[in-house]
Amino acid sequence: MRSVGAVASEVAGLRVVRLVALPALLVVVWWAVGGSTFYLPGPVEVGRAFAETWFSERLVDDVLPSLGRLLAGYAVAGVLGVGLGVPIGLSRRLRATLEPVLEFFRAIPPPVLVPLIMLLAGIDTPMKVLVIVSGCVWPILLNTVEGVRALDEVLADTCRMYGVRGASRLRRFVLRGASPQIMTGLRQALSIGIILMVISEMFASSSGLGFTIVLFQRQFQIAEMWSGILLLGLLGLALSALFRRLERWVLSWYYGSGAARA
């Protein structure tokens, strides 16, 4: 019999292997093809650029403010998406009325929407947060609407029978019941938020992570640019790990109940 500790460390080891196997493979591929052209430097070069670029005051001056705006925009989008999605999902009439308008805005590319947002919100932080919101809100909104539409009928009837209505119904039934889909939307929005953080800093900026990446691109500092992209990816990875924790907690009933297979 092996000791419990040995088994536990083996399990942990397996997890690490699973976590890094594919990324390691991809780095090897990158190694092989990288460096062949000007626009695709090898991993070593990018690694060096990464260390030089981001382990400096840039981290505080550029990355942190960007992160702050990202989180602000994400939070606003979450509140807005769920807040709008619930009534739209619940009311067929509201859905019919608002859907074309929302689809209209959804189809407008953020880069061309920016001038309009600048007209209304200026060129400073509120504008950039709004740009992030304008992209993040859609997956949350759509998923919330669909999640609310698909609520279980028997549960809905149960609420009606036992007089569960208003805020209580919203909190205990609608939001909880739709939470699997809402979480899907929130997860989608997380990476879209990062993308829009970059896009928002392409306008009326003089600092920020996205701005820096774009500047590197324009100044043909390609290794630095890739190091920025690498940072974006790592950022996404970190945020999604946090998100998964949240999700495990919020949706524990969902994965436990056999309504879904985690």
Partner: protein, 290 residues
Amino acid sequence: APEQAQGKTKVNAGVIAILDTAPIHLGKAKGFFDEQNIDLTITPVQGGAASVSGAVSGQFQFAFANTTSLLTAKQQGLDVKVVANGVSSTGEQGKDFSAVLVKPDSPIRTAADLAGKKISVNQLKNIGDTTVRASVRKAGGDPGGIEFIELAFPDAPAALQSGRVDAIWVVEPFVSQALGQGARAVAWNFADAAPDLTVAMYFTTGRTDADLTRRFTAAMRKSLEYADTHPDEVREILTTYTKITPEVIAKMYLPKWPVEVNRASVQTVADLALADGVLSEKVDVSALVP
């Protein structure tokens, strides 16, 4: 007709669809490129960086980019080489295609007052901030404290009007437009930076063969000369590839299109950029502009 196109070399040129590039459009329309056995396709690009990467990757045999972009590319070791002049400042105060504008009631009266203010440029660390600093310096101000902010030309007038920035740097057609709406020019930065400043140039990369380059250069020179001497036709051609309204086209200040690159001005820009930290090392202008 296809048989006509047969002996011709297909050329794809990456060019921004703005006033500055009127000569190549005009030259194409006039057949100057056909004369050189070039079957020219003009692909609109968004900016200097896009044209440089397009040229480096081989999609464009020739492309158009501003002086600073080219200097930056050269500094990063990219194989770019100027083949013809692009566009130049008129060098005349009050009659150029680029200006720094303020609101009519702004306390900023001269370029020196711009010191310490918030000024929009279309791209940071590019020709805009370099030349605006030059204007301020020339007027006796200290350019060190200026806060530059990136704002695309089309968005700048609105930002100026709503007071989100103190001053904007724009080029035509936005100069005329904003002036028409009451804005006031406080500096003509291209004219200030260097006499007859070469603002942008046509370039190629090492992979284009010498003969084709020669022919393209010849056609380009003819186009530049023609454009410079036929302003009415320039205004005419603008209606075909831009969406500038006819009223504005009629009023716009046109730039100069001299045939020769003003090397001294390119060197000046390089030196200024180096001094401002836009470039990190001294660039050998003669390697860029042979």
